[in-house]
């Protein structure tokens, strides 16, 4: 088993799962019914993507080889049970989650949730565009299916960034705060982890494209990027399982049932 590849798939799954989980907290609490429905849709799409990645990772991890068992153990999981999407989501502890730090940041107000979605969707779109050509046909297929959904997430979140940035003085200020809060979590997207060495993606090219596109929307929204945006100190560690304090609580909630009732089927 190619451990780098599996770790990369887990990274893709974790990122979409954690963002889905965060967005899903808005369900029933959105600012207006239509947008409550829209964000729940995005949450459902991301959850579906996470499940695709986990199911594929599980398939690869069920090989009966010693190196595979060692790898499973290195993720703090039991080697005597069949790996499934749920084992991967519910039986891994915080130091073995590889999601982007951006996705685990608190929902904050609606503006921060929108901006988090926009920054990620813009990145996800460009990334998955490349992943569609990944030599692993399964990753390529998941990326090709997901990018259709991402296109919608991107359009929706871009429109909302513009609307809120160029809305009232209050909404403008809230969006500017959201940019300042979340910007330090964006650098990590373009810093390849060890397991990304084989992914054959030009991360600096990806970063330039992303930055251009984000700058254009931010400008249309009459907002501004942090001063010297390229020099802002960036938080890293998510891809290596070193997270912010938020992830522990997110997983506590997510994994509660499986922890409280080990071995039960639902």
């Amino acid at each position: 088993m190619n451990t780098s590849l599996v770790k990369y798939i887990l990274h893709l799954g974790d990122t979409t799962l954690i963002l889905a989980q965060q967005n899903s907290k808005w369900c029933g609490h959105g600012p207006v019914l239509e947008q409550d429905i829209a964000l729940t849709n995005i949450s459902l799409d991301l959850l579906g993507q996470a499940r695709n990645f986990y199911q594929y990772a599980a398939e690869l991890m069920n090989e009966n080889e010693k190196s595979t068992k060692d790898f499973i153990q290195s993720l703090g999981m039991q080697t005597d049970e069949k790996i499934t999407e749920d084992i991967l989501a519910y039986h891994r502890k915080e130091r073995f989650f590889f999601n982007l730090l951006l996705t685990e940041q608190p929902n904050g107000d609606w503006g921060q949730t929108i901006l988090r979605q926009f920054l990620y969707s813009r990145f996800q779109y460009y990334l998955y565009e490349k992943l569609q050509e990944h030599p692993d046909t399964q990753i390529a297929a998941i990326a090709a299916k997901s990018i259709k959904e991402t296109t919608y997430h991107l359009r929706w979140s871009s429109e909302w960034v513009i609307r809120l940035g160029d809305g009232t003085a209050e909404s403008h200020e809230r969006m500017q705060n959201a940019i300042d809060n979340l910007w330090p979590y964006t650098g990590e997207m373009f810093l390849p982890a060890d397991f990304e060495a084989d992914v054959k993606i030009d991360f600096s090219g990806l970063k330039n494209k992303w930055l251009d596109a984000v700058t254009s929307i931010v400008k249309q929204a009459t907002l501004s990027l942090p001063e010297n945006e390229n020099k802002v100190y960036m938080h890293t560690g998510g891809k290596e399982g070193r997270h912010t304090e938020h992830l522990g609580y997110i997983l506590t909630e997510l994994q509660y049932m499986q922890m409280a009732f080990p071995g039960a089927n639902w």
């Binding site: 029933g28 959105g30 729940t40 009232t168 909404s171 071995g263």
Partner: protein, 313 residues
């Protein structure tokens, strides 16, 4: 046209099963009754998102999480159709929502009960959605056109929800001892409140007679409640669980199951706002609305700016 002639057209339509449409003449009381009922129904969908939403982040598997999210989202969609149907009677969604937040408009009391365990997701689907469907199937034939059409769409999704709920309980009932106990406990807690969903007994129901004449309703509260009991007594056997009522017994003369007395004191207290979660539910809705105020204002301001630009160009 003279009022008497208009009323005659209205009455004829009701008698001949022709739907009443938004632009048709209708008695004020008919308009008011429909508006009250449809907006209450819309509010119930929206408030009803809260008890189930309570378990979205804690669903025990990714598949269950996806199903639950989609279900709660469906309820938001039902709320939308129903608010739109109610708006055809001349009140805006904002006005309806305000009267909910001011405590003037009611919603189904069932949502004032707490969801304490995962099994409650199953019990709500099976019992609460099951009770709602009996009412809603009847409402697919209600006399006001927009309401009837909204109900046809809603019923399709609701019956799916009910099957999902039953399936959650079915898995629990085949699970370990803790899961079985969780399943029985949820049925025990949701059974009586579900029976209360059909409203007061016919002799106490103030709005019923006129609603039957106008074919807004087609079955009485007690008829629907009996239909529900008869259905559940059979279904609970499949789960191998018990309904928490020792008085449930087949009555050969009536060809129906007899059942015990509902605690009407509890019913009226929950209606009046004293139920276990009345305050929390309303507070959660108000909070979402208040915290969304700046978002709605920004969207309006932005739209206005864009319109000005368009006009200038």
């Amino acid at each position: 046209m003279a009022a008497a002639a208009q009323e005659k057209i209205f009455t004829t339509k009701i008698e001949t099963e022709e739907k009443i449409e938004p632009k048709d003449w209708m008695p004020d009381a008919y308009r008011k009754t429909n508006l009250r009922q449809i907006s209450q129904h819309a509010h119930s969908e929206i408030v009803g998102m809260l008890p189930e939403g309570n378990w979205i982040t804690r669903a025990p598997s990714l598949k269950r999480k996806a199903i639950l999210l989609a279900k709660v989202q469906d309820e938001a969609g039902h709320g939308l159709y129903l608010y739109s149907a109610a708006e055809t009677l001349g009140m805006s969604r904002d006005e309806m929502i305000n009267s909910l937040h001011e405590g003037k408009a009611k919603y189904s009391s069932i949502f004032n009960y707490p969801t304490l365990t995962w099994a409650d997701m199953g019990a709500i689907g099976w019992l609460v959605d099951g009770a709602a469907i009996l009412n809603q199937v009847m409402l697919c034939r209600t006399s006001y056109g927009p309401y009837a059409r909204a109900m046809v769409r809603i019923c399709k999704e609701e019956s799916f929800h009910q099957r999902q709920g039953f399936e959650i309980l079915w898995v629990l009932s085949n699970g370990n001892a803790e899961q079985k106990a969780m399943c029985q406990d949820a049925i025990n807690r949701w059974w009586w409140p579900s029976l209360m969903m059909f409203g007061p007994t016919d002799s106490e129901s103030t709005n019923s007679d006129q609603s039957m004449k106008w074919k807004i309703k087609r079955k009485s509260n007690d008829e629907l409640r009996q239909q529900f009991v008869d259905m559940c007594v059979e279904q609970v056997k499949v789960l191998g669980m018990q309904l928490p009522d020792e008085k449930i017994k087949w009555n050969e003369k009536r060809k129906h199951y007899d059942f015990g007395e509902i605690d009407w004191n509890e019913f009226w207290n929950v209606v009046k706002g004293n139920g276990p979660c009345n305050k929390e539910r309303l507070a959660a809705r108000r909070k979402a609305h208040e915290e969304g105020q700046w978002v709605r204002e920004a969207a309006m301001a932005f739209a206005a700016k864009r319109n000005t630009k368009k006009t200038a160009a």
